[in-house]
């Protein structure tokens, strides 16, 4: 069995009396180390799919298996524990915690994990910061950084705990093309070095080009699943 498996996943949102189906029976498997892009127009269910995979939400019908374990039977706190151990997130709007420094933002992800001593944490944080090329910026606050730098911090935060899967929701949407390439290179490098599984949602052709697998969504259903 693979790292991640979706089986007939359906998601229905209720808005008052109206039921909106965001995902209509999606099945999918992702292997360790894949660099996958989920593409599709807005409203096609990209974010919903990523929420399911990221254990931020549970499917209405069907099941998501992470390393063979179904998630629908887990409660809120168990899901939180699952996320802190196994999943890293990168958002379009960076979403760093503004009151924490670059260092502390990354440190937070590690501190949430049990049994780490401070020395290990420091070493790990500095290593990942150097890896994303921000070794010098450790003590800055997020608002003193450029967009590209912020997104690198976000990548570092997602990767520092060496999660099984990193989910990135439109990671380059707010960046210019040069910075996008920069950020993308960092991710590709990490994917190769650490064998971390990456799943994106994106519109950006640049991102799609670097992906090894592209899943296309439309109206909540997979219309194409191509590997290059």
């Amino acid at each position: 069995m693979g790292l991640l498996k979706l089986e007939e996943v359906e998601k229905i949102y209720r808005q008052g009396e109206i039921e909106v189906s965001a995902l209509g029976g999606v099945s999918l498997e992702v292997e360790q180390g894949e660099f996958t892009s989920v593409a599709g127009p807005s409203g096609s269910g990209k974010t919903t799919l990523l929420n399911m995979v990221g254990c931020l939400d549970q499917p209405t019908n069907g099941e998501v298996y992470l390393e063979g374990e179904g998630i629908s039977k887990l409660d809120k706190d168990q899901l939180a524990l699952l996320r802190r151990e196994n999943l890293g997130f990168i958002f379009q709007g960076y979403n760093l915690i503004p009151v924490l420094t670059v260092y502390e933002n990354i440190e937070l992800a590690l501190k949430l994990l049990a049994d780490r001593n401070n020395k290990d944490i420091k070493e790990q944080v500095m290593k990942i910061l150097t890896a994303v090329g921000l070794g010098e910026m450790a003590d800055r606050k997020p608002n003193e950084l450029s967009g590209g730098q912020k997104q690198r911090v976000a990548i570092a935060r997602a990767l520092v705990k060496e999660p099984k899967i990193v989910l990135a929701d439109e990671p380059t949407a707010n960046l210019d093309s040069k910075t996008s390439i920069d950020v993308l290179e960092v991710m590709v490098e990490m994917n190769q070095k650490l064998e971390t599984t990456f799943i994106f949602s994106t519109h950006d052709p640049l991102v799609m080009e670097s992906a090894k697998r592209i899943i296309k969504l439309k109206d909540g259903e997979i219309i194409a699943d191509e590997r290059s």
Binding site: T47, T48, N51, G54, L56, D57, K76, D77, A80, L81, L82, R83, R84, E85, L87, F89, F91, G93, N95, I97, P98, V99, L100, E104, E107, L108, A109, K111, L112, R157
Partner: protein
């Protein structure tokens, strides 16, 4: 889990004005509580002291038939020992009791001063001067002169009474009275001191003489009209009463005397106690109103930071931790606000604890019949500051549960969509 407090503290400075107003609101209500409570407690404490010192003791022992008729100041219902064998012996027995610290026999009787064609009613208190000084620092109330000597024909008088009689310390006075056997007598005394307690009832009506002198002239040898007991602490009166009940129960004459604690139900002090409790509810109410302002702010903060909460949830923080994070932020505001509040309130109470608030004429209606001081000094005490601080922090904390729960109830996918 050291990072939650760090984030909470730093969050405070994110929107300084918003934080500041909430803190001001808390500071204001806490300051109000400090001052109001300082005022009430100060006044009640001094009233309790007045009553304990001059009326009730911690426990008052009187003849049962005299109960409810103290106003008569009659000498016909004395305290005269367990077997009518005198209070000296009774005092010995009482002194054996652990809880009893001081035993103060008193004789309160009515008298009159005749000057030319005018008769002024006065109240005589026969006291064991030495013991009264030891128990209630009675000599502290002297305004001029000295205390009367034992077995002497010396008295001290309330300052207002002296003024009314147009007399001064050092002069002689003749006081008319009825003895216990009903004979009408007059005695001359030398006024050796003037008394100023701040209590109109005493300062304007009372003269004080030595107990044995009073016993002798009133035909009440080894008797008193009342016996006050003072224990180590007025809060231990219950155990004092219990021991008294036991002691009196072991004598035949137990039924002859009433044992009345200072806070007995139906007495004025009991009503003050009820008042104190009502005020405590009012304090809480005031702090709740301040907390409402804080809740408003916190709810907006939660709305503002919905996305951030989503990120934290994605990072793997549990709802409980989100809840704690916001609660902490509220508690910090509560702590800072309460601290500023007790400083502000502390300054005000300090000022009024020195200068006092003069109710003057307004209290005169009451001070003829009650032991109330006309100048109210606020109670400036660490206890009051700590009480108010804790009350502020605790209520703010409880209030912050509402917005913190709102934050913790957010679903991660919804919070991130915001």
């Amino acid at each position: 889990m050291g990072y939650l407090p760090v984030i909470a503290v730093r969050n405070l400075s994110r929107h300084k004005l918003r934080t500041l107003i909430s803190i001001i609101a808390i500071a204001l209500v806490v300051a109000i509580v400090v001052v109001a409570r300082g005022h009430i407690v100060g006044y009640l404490e001094s009233t309790y002291d007045s009553y304990i010192n001059y009326d009730t003791g911690h426990v008052k022992i009187i003849n049962q038939e005299f109960e409810g008729r103290e106003r008569l100041m009659s000498l016909n219902y004395p305290v005269a020992g367990f077997a009518q064998d005198g209070i000296s012996k009774m005092k010995e027995e009482l002194a054996e009791v652990d809880e009893v610290k001081y035993i103060l026999p008193r004789i309160k009787f009515g008298g009159a001063v005749s000057q030319e064609d005018e008769l002024t009613n006065v109240m005589g208190w026969g006291l064991n001067i030495e013991q009264e000084i030891a128990a209630i620092d009675f000599d502290q109330q002297l305004k001029a002169g000295r205390m009367p000597l034992a077995d002497s024909e010396e008295i001290i008088m309330g300052q207002q009474l002296l003024e009314r009689l147009e007399l001064a310390v050092g002069e002689e006075i003749t006081i008319l009275y009825n003895t216990a056997i009903g004979s009408f007598q007059g005695s001359s005394f030398e006024i050796v001191g003037a008394l100023e307690t701040g209590l109109g009832l005493i300062d304007g009506n009372v003269f004080i003489l030595d107990l044995s002198q009073a016993q002798q002239m009133l035909n009440m040898s080894d008797e008193a009209t009342e016996l006050l007991l003072i224990g180590a602490d007025r809060n231990r009166t219950d155990s004092l009463v219990m021991e008294m009940d036991e002691l009196f129960g072991s004598f035949e004459a137990a039924t002859e005397y009433s044992i009345i604690p200072w806070n007995a139900p139906g007495k004025i002090i009991d009503y003050f106690k009820i008042g104190e409790r009502i005020y405590n509810i009012i304090y809480i109410f005031f702090i709740l109103m301040g907390s409402i302002i804080l809740i408003n702010t916190m709810l907006m903060i939660v709305r503002d930071r919905t996305r951030e909460i989503g990120v934290m949830l994605a990072l793997g923080l549990k709802s409980r931790e989100i809840w704690r994070l916001f609660l902490l932020e509220g508690i910090f505001m509560g702590i800072i606000g309460s601290f500023i509040g007790i400083i502000l309130g502390g300054v005000v109470t300090k000022v009024f604890s020195i200068h006092g608030i003069d109710y003057g004429e307004a209290m005169e209606v009451l001070s003829d019949d009650l032991l109330l001081e006309t100048v109210a000094y606020t109670d400036f005490s660490l206890e009051n500051l700590i009480f108010s601080f804790l009350l502020g922090v605790v209520i703010v904390t409880i209030a912050c549960i509402i917005p913190a729960r709102r934050a913790a109830e957010l679903e991660p996918s919804e919070a991130l969509r915001d």
